[in-house]
């Protein structure tokens, strides 16, 4: 061994000498001449910053803002032009010395896209993958990355259930496979799995993003990829002189819409209707002053004619200020980028805000001909916090409720109803929430001294800390002086999360004229650790100390801490094979082991395979259908696992949160008891999804129409779910691998160049996705699981309930007589104005057998459309995002739950009274004996963004001393069209959720 090793340097030295000789030889051929030229894109626009390099040398330059360049090169040498997002171009130096070049843009198939553990030409892809480039990323001006992605990729569904600034959206790729385990896709940031928040990232630092959807594409990520994978590449430095870019945005935001609640007169009428129909009041009892229909407080305001619009108090106009400065550049061997950005954003709800600072740096260093090393880091500090008012309480509050007392303090119960208190009671509290996120990704790439063999090691590290501190002073409801006890209430909590990923890849490439083979082997390990602690207490000496003197809490001091650790170990082998660039195959085998499973089920094996065929390159197309620029068929099949359960579910646990006390003035003692989910299941194992995918990629009519059609079918086996069992077992819920689900769907993504005439361009992107999910089997016994709302042959998430078909009216038949002559109520407790429930089994009366599957909580389909226009230096775009046919709780129809018989209600609500029998909504007197819900099938189309912009011509910019100037104005969430109205956020079925903000943004982008 030793002996052999000594041989290496010698050979290496000899190789180097040979290389040097050959270079001299090359130069020796001819003397360099001066080359000048201009680089433009297909539209004739000059390209700034294009790399121009002489092949096989390190000599090169970049184009200036007019696309011009000059360098010295010998005639006959080859110049390589590279520019991100464009097809690299090679030209041979002509003796004229003038070399003008046109580079082809984004739609090129030569484009190299990032796939898992490597890059591949888009043309050679075998798996299903969508790329989101800068153009799409910059279409929406939101400061949240996920906002910018919504509606941009077919099959990537982003739901903003919490619209407050800095909150995460939920992402689903191709619907849900798992009934109760996690359905989140895997996020890979600069090659390293990232479990942090996407809202942490500055969207402006993202260069591009790929969404991997089918089994083959995600197979290399194995267990972690069963819900799809999103690969995010941040911007890296480019070869060329240093470039400084400054970008800023200013905006203001307001709730896109408010709930239209009843005004004072309408409210009194409602209270009277409630009084007579629910309480049986009449005459004077219905009088707002003399009667008992409103509280004493409301009576006072009624008498004085004082009313409040509570939504005025809880909502606000929010301002946004966003800055980013970046510096980037590089030489052929060293490339760097550094960026810093700062965002200040107010939410549209009183007290809500976000401050975010991002620092990104990266550097790539080529050391020699066999070693390249790179390192990149992201540091994010994010501050949110501020106790926001209770929006539900604002919506439901009586217009006659009392807002503040004489001293200016918020009245605790404006309408004397403890469940609907003053929305503002706690807004004076101090709350600080800070999260810090440090992410590091590093790699070393080594060419091994065997042709085609290379080794790469990736190391990723993520540290996140979270701090939350809150102090309720004496001027808040929670912290007020009460019961002779001093006021003040504080709590702080800390969390620290670390993970590391270490991946080692060995890659071998072999290429002959007709064959190309690429084999990758992987070993990776990952560990995560989360520790947390929190403390709280009550009764502080002074409000001045806030939450900074927890030790002075006089009573109710509580402390807690926690720990969660997981580990993952994986082995993977992938083979890519292509024949003549027309026929391609990928085979992947992966084994994953996870700590969260039972002793004997930790490891599982997941294989996959994919085939692709460039039909467009076949002569029968090439020769006969010249309008076909490209046509490719892809087929794949494979398995992926889902480990997405939390740690320790295989072990028995005791609930220990509660303390008990022995006698008056005693001290608290520990307790422990078996919680309903306290028994672990030692047999838990991976749930596995088998996916078949057929895809067709095409470009027609000189690239005027391009797109992708994908069809897929995935079957998930051994579903991990919490199973409801009779509590007589000693527990009522236990994790188990049971059942099987199926997802199938179609995704269509189209890109069209509608107009391409001189100065005017119009392009359209259309995305359509349709997914149907269903439960195929539960426990193999062909019976439904009503306890869990799981029904064989039905979608995964359904409403199962009594179905309201109308209203009971006066004069209806309320009794049913059975064949034996016994009478019973058709619908127990029904009266005129009650919801009429469907007798599903037709037995003549309503009982539990009359519940049915009302519908799926997932939409029928989604569709989105983006349009871009440009005329000379002006551009414009708009994006529509539509969700169609999703079943939701119809809160507005659920009068009992909305009003509790006491609170305000929706303006113009068409509810039943004896005088209004043709109403849609039940009577205020309706007693919901069966406890049923109310449902509606909802569709909505959101105008996500409209933008107008102007890019200053290079000549004009130059006069200002700049390379490029871009100004734009935009509006986000301009409007939503829907068949429902009384919600604040269409992505959230709860009517009082944080409202979607309509924001108006002014953006400026300067390059120096």
């Amino acid at each position: 061994m030793l002996k052999k090793n000594h041989v290496k340097p010698k050979i290496g030295f000899m190789l180097s000498v040979l290389l040097l000789l050959s270079v001299f030889q090359l130069y020796g051929q001819q003397d360099p001449i001066k080359i000048t030229g201009n680089v433009i894109d297909e539209n004739g626009e000059p390209l700034l910053g294009v790399n121009v390099r002489i092949k096989d040398t390190n000599t090169g330059t970049v184009t200036d803002f007019d696309g011009n360049y000059e360098l010295q090169a010998p005639v006959g040498a080859t110049l390589i032009f590279t520019y991100i997002g464009y097809t690299p171009k090679e030209v041979t130096v002509a003796s004229s010395g003038v070399m003008d070049v046109i580079m082809a843009g984004d739609m090129s198939l030569e484009e190299v896209v990032v796939v898992g553990y490597g890059k591949v030409r888009k043309k050679d892809l075998t798996g299903g993958l969508s790329v989101v480039g800068k153009e799409k990323l910059n279409m929406v001006s939101s400061t949240n990355l996920m906002d910018r992605l919504a509606g941009q990729v077919a099959g990537l569904n982003i739901t903003t259930s919490n619209a407050a600034p800095g909150q995460d959206q939920s992402i689903l790729i191709r619907g849900q496979n798992s009934l109760s385990a996690n359905n989140d896709p895997l996020i890979v940031l600069d090659g390293i799995p990232y479990s942090g928040s996407l809202s942490d990232l500055d969207p402006n630092i993202i260069d591009n993003l790929s969404v991997l959807k089918d089994a083959s594409a995600v197979a290399i990520y194995g267990a972690r990829g069963s819900n799809g994978v999103i690969l995010i590449q941040t911007k890296r430095g480019l070869e060329g002189k240093p470039r400084v870019n400054y970008r800023t945005q200013f905006g203001l935001a307001e709730p896109m819409q408010r709930i239209e609640v009843m005004g004072p007169n309408e409210y009194i009428k409602l209270k009277q209707d409630i009084g007579r129909l629910r309480q049986g009041y009449s005459g004077d009892q219905l009088d707002p002053v003399a009667g008992d229909i409103i509280s004493v407080s409301e009576r006072e305001n009624y008498a004085r004619g004082i009313t409040h619009d509570w939504q005025d108090y809880v909502f606000q106009t929010g301002y946004t200020m966003d800055h980013q400065v970046s510096v980037s550049g590089g030489t052929p061997s060293t490339k760097y980028l550094a960026a810093i950005s700062h965002l200040d954003q107010d939410g549209v709800v009183y007290n809500s805000k976000l401050t975010r600072t991002n620092i990104s740096t990266n550097i790539d260093q080529v050391f020699n001909d066999w070693l390249t090393v790179g390192i990149g880091s992201q540091f994010i500090q994010k501050e949110t916090g501020g106790v926001t008012p209770n929006i539900e309480h604002a919506i439901k509050q009586s217009p006659y409720g009392k807002y503040k007392d004489e001293s200016g303090y918020y009245i605790t119960e404006p309408m004397e109803y403890s469940l609907i208190t003053n929305p503002m009671i706690n807004v004076n509290a101090d709350q600080d929430v800070t999260s810090r996120n440090f992410f590091l990704s590093a790699y070393a790439n080594m060419l091994l001294p065997v042709k085609g063999l290379s080794f790469r090691t990736n190391y990723g590290y993520n540290y996140r800390s979270g701090f939350s501190g809150i102090y309720y002073g004496r001027d808040t409801f929670a912290g007020r002086e009460q019961a002779g006890l001093i006021g003040g209430r504080a709590s702080i909590s800390n969390s620290h999360y670390t993970d590391y990923t270490w991946e080692n890849l060995l890659r071998y490439e072999l290429k002959t004229d007709d064959h190309s083979l690429d084999a990758t082997g992987l070993f990776s390990m990952q560990q995560t650790k989360r520790i947390s602690s929190s403390q709280s207490g009550e009764g502080f000496i002074t409000d001045d100390s806030g939450y900074h003197m927890m030790d002075t809490a006089e009573r109710n001091q509580k402390i807690s801490s926690g720990l969660s650790e997981t580990a993952l170990l994986s082995y993977m082998l992938r083979l890519n094979y292509a024949y003549k660039g027309k026929y391609m195959a990928t085979v992947t085998a992966r084994t994953d082991g996870s700590s969260v499973f039972g002793e004997n089920n930790k490891y599982a094996f997941f294989p996959s395979a994919a085939l692709a065929w460039q039909i467009g390159d076949e002569s029968f197309i090439r020769d006969h259908a010249t309008w076909v620029d490209m046509l490719k068929l892809r087929v794949s099949y494979g398995a992926n696992g889902n480990q997405a359960i939390t740690a320790y579910r295989t072990l028995d646990r005791l609930h220990s949160d509660v303390k008990y006390i022995w006698g008056d003035g005693g001290t608290a003692v520990n307790t422990a008891y078996l919680a309903g989910d306290g028994i672990g299941n030692p047999n838990l194992k991976w749930e596995t999804t088998y996916t078949t995918n057929i895809g067709l990629d095409f470009q027609f009519f000189n690239n005027r129409l391009g797109g992708t059609v994908e069809m897929y079918l995935s079957n998930t086996h051994d579903l991990l779910m919490i199973r409801t069992v009779p509590i007589m077992n000693g527990y009522s819920r236990i994790w188990d691998n049971i059942g099987q689900t199926r997802n199938k769907g179609i995704e269509i993504a189209l890109h069209t160049m509608n107009i391409n005439a001189g100065d005017f361009h119009w392009t359209t992107d259309l995305n359509f996705s349709l997914n149907r999910d269903k439960i195929v089997q539960l426990r193999g016994d062909n019976t439904d699981d009503i306890g869990n709302n799981w029904f064989i042959g039905k979608p995964l998430r359904v409403y199962y309930d009594y179905n309201m078909t109308g209203l009971w009216q006066q004069g209806d038949t309320y009794f049913y007589t059975d064949p034996d002559g016994n009478q019973r109520e058709i619908q127990t407790g029904a009266a005129p104005g009650s919801a009429r429930l469907e007798d599903v089994d037709g037995n003549g009366y309503i009982n539990t057998d009359d519940r049915k599957v009302i519908g799926s909580r997932m939409p029928d389909f989604r569709m989105s459309m983006g349009n871009r226009f440009s005329y000379k230096n002006f551009y414009s775009s708009f994006l529509l995002n539509g969700v169609f046919g999703v079943w939701r709780d119809d809160h507005m129809a659920n009068m009992g739950a909305w009003t509790f018989g006491i609170t305000n209600y929706v303006h113009g609500a068409d509810y039943w009274t004896p005088e209004n029998p043709d109403a849609d909504i039940v009577s205020p007197g309706y007693v919901n004996t069966f406890g049923h819900g109310f449902y509606k099938k909802v569709s909505y189309v959101q105008v996500k963004n409209i933008t107008f912009g102007y890019t200053m011509g290079p000549d004009l910019a130059k006069k200002l001393g700049l390379s490029a100037v871009d100004v734009n104005i935009s509006v986000n969430n301009a409007h939503t069209f829907s068949n429902i109205r009384q919600v604040l956020n269409y992505d959230n079925s709860w009517m009082a959720s944080y409202p979607t903000a309509r924001s108006y943004m002014l953006g400026l982008n300067l390059t120096f």
Binding site: L563, N670, Y673, L674
Partner: protein
């Protein structure tokens, strides 16, 4: 050759990594939660475990969930055991209560499910302690094992008691079924009751005897609590002789007596011995209360004590006087009431009110349980902002009592108000689950069962004498009188439904006294339906529903 070297080196490196890393890399190290295997390994661990049983038991009184209790999630769980009987009618109501009060119960009604789950949770935790107590060998004292088993078996019996009263035949389980079953069948009530009595016999034998002994923790069970419950369970079994013996064990233990003199924190303020029993902090023995046998702890504003979501009985029983112009919330008026239920006229009477009917009620004039300290009939306007009314008496009328629910004779035993926070929801008074007065009434019930009205009268008279009520004779003594006596003494404390079901008097008394349900009540109403969720979850075998509910 060279390639081989590198490959070998690389492969060797990877292999080393894999082998060294993989051995225990994927093992779980469990540090952040308790498990039975790291808790039930010492006397202290079992002490923590049985304390958990007290906490679980107390969670029966939790309404909306706080401190880890999410059992009921509704406002009026405890009143569901009081309505549709002979003592209260539905007042302002609450969605969680109306179906129980109106006998429109369905198997999906919330508390139908939550009581079932509460009881079986308690049974499961008791069973787990019993299971691990057999495995543990590390005891401080050899007797610890029996002691903890006695405590666990008491709670198991206590939970089955609720199940038997509410649902009839229920599956009897006495261990944790690690391989879960979906084929439970309903064990006949007689059989369940047999097990319950065995458990209580064991508890009565092994629980501590002396509640005043050094180091005995207030609120902890004694063998006398077990005998008290055993007496009730023998009554349910109609084994009246043994029921009487068990009750006498408690009465003759020497540790308990009826409180006949003033005691506790307000003994120098106006009141009587009966009202003293229900003053905050007067329930545990250290206050001088020698009547209480088992007290659930709800200490105010203390970790381990009660919460704002615990025990909303006061809200349910108190009138909504604050809705009347001229009244403002006051601690002295019992704090904030919502009048979800109102007492019936037939027993509380209309004396001292302007309500119609001229009904005498069931109290002697001299009975202190009917004094204004215990049933408040005199209400005075207390809003100084209304000078024309202030200080004047506000009369109880049919309107205030039955329709507006703003004023009616109110039980002060449930008053709870704090001057500083009048909208406090929880009632932080400790709750006497068993007290000696009830033991006497159980004894009376046992004698009635043995056809011995004279001894029964003697037992009842013990209780009546304390309150200054007239002594009754053998001829007056019958079950209806005893049931009336339980109202006088225990209304709102006992679960009226349990008592009427045990004595087979539910339908009869509802027909007699409950105007709203007189024509509606049927024999099957003696039981609640089986929760639909249980029927659904028990997939492998049909779980029969109780008669009258749906199917």
């Amino acid at each position: 050759m060279k390639m081989n070297t590198y490959l070998k080196a690389g492969v060797l490196l990877l292999c080393t990594l894999m082998v060294t890393a993989c051995q225990d890399f994927l093992d779980e190290d469990f540090k952040s939660e308790l498990s039975p295997t790291n808790t039930f390994t010492s006397t202290y661990g079992f002490e923590v475990g049985v304390s958990g049983l007290y906490a679980l038991t107390r969670s029966e009184y939790n309404t909306y969930g706080e401190g880890g209790a999410y059992i009921h999630n509704g406002a009026c769980p405890y009143e569901a055991l009081q309505v549709a009987t002979d003592i209260v009618s539905l007042g302002y109501g609450d969605a969680s209560l109306t179906a129980f009060a109106n006998l429109t119960l369905t198997p999906e009604e919330r508390f139908v499910g939550t009581y079932w789950n509460w009881a079986y949770s308690l049974i499961a935790s008791a069973n787990e302690i019993l299971l691990f107590s057999e495995k543990n060998t590390n005891w401080d004292q050899p007797s610890d094992k029996e002691l903890f088993q006695a405590e666990a078996r008491f709670f198991r019996a206590y939970a089955y008691r609720t199940l038997m009263y509410l649902y009839g035949d229920v599956p009897y389980v006495e261990t944790i079924l690690y391989d879960f079953q979906l084929n439970f069948t309903r064990t006949p009530r007689e059989e369940v009751l047999g097990h319950v009595i065995e458990d209580l016999q064991f508890s009565a034998e092994h629980l501590p005897e002396n509640p005043d002994s050094e180091g005995f923790k207030p609120g902890r069970l004694t063998r006398w609590a077990a005998y008290h419950l055993l007496s009730e369970m023998y009554l349910l079994q109609e084994n009246y002789a043994l029921a009487g013996e068990a009750a006498l064990e408690v009465i003759n233990s020497g540790y308990f007596e009826l409180m006949k003199t003033r005691f506790g924190v307000k003994k120098d303020e106006p009141g009587d011995p009966f009202s003293d029993l229900f003053v905050e902090n007067n329930q545990n023995r250290k206050s001088g209360n020698r009547e209480s046998i088992w007290v659930l702890q709800f200490e105010f504003n203390t970790i381990g004590g009660g919460t704002n979501s615990d025990d909303w009985t006061r809200r349910a029983w108190n009138p909504k006087y604050q809705n009347i112009t001229g009244f403002v919330l006051a601690d002295t008026l019992g704090g904030r009431g919502l009048a979800q239920i109102v007492p019936m006229k037939w027993w509380v009477g209309t004396d001292g009110t302007n309500a119609s009917g001229d009904i005498e009620g069931i109290f002697d004039d001299a009975d202190i349980r009917n004094s204004n300290y215990n049933i408040k009939r005199n209400w005075y306007y207390n809003n100084s902002g209304e000078p024309s009314l202030y200080g004047k008496k506000a009369n109880i009328t049919d309107q205030t009592w039955l329709s507006a629910n703003t004023l009616f004779p109110a039980l002060t035993k449930f008053f709870y108000g704090r001057e500083e926070n009048l909208s406090l929801t929880g009632s932080y008074k400790d709750r006497m689950k068993f007290r000696l007065a009830e033991t006497y009434l159980l004894l009376a019930e046992a004698y009635l069962g043995q056809d011995n009205p004279s001894k029964a009268a003697e037992a009842v008279n013990e209780v009546r004498r304390r309150s200054g009520a007239s002594v009754i004779n053998t001829g007056e003594m019958n079950m209806d009188f005893l049931l009336d006596e339980r109202i006088r003494e225990l209304v709102g404390e006992e679960s009226r439904r349990f008592t009427l079901v045990r004595t087979h008097k539910l339908v009869e008394r509802v027909k007699e006294h409950n105007d709203a349900l007189r024509d509606k009540v049927r024999d099957f109403h003696a039981l609640w339906p089986i929760p639909q969720s249980i029927i659904n979850a028990n997939k492998d075998v049909e779980f029969p529903q109780n008669d009258g509910y749906g199917n």
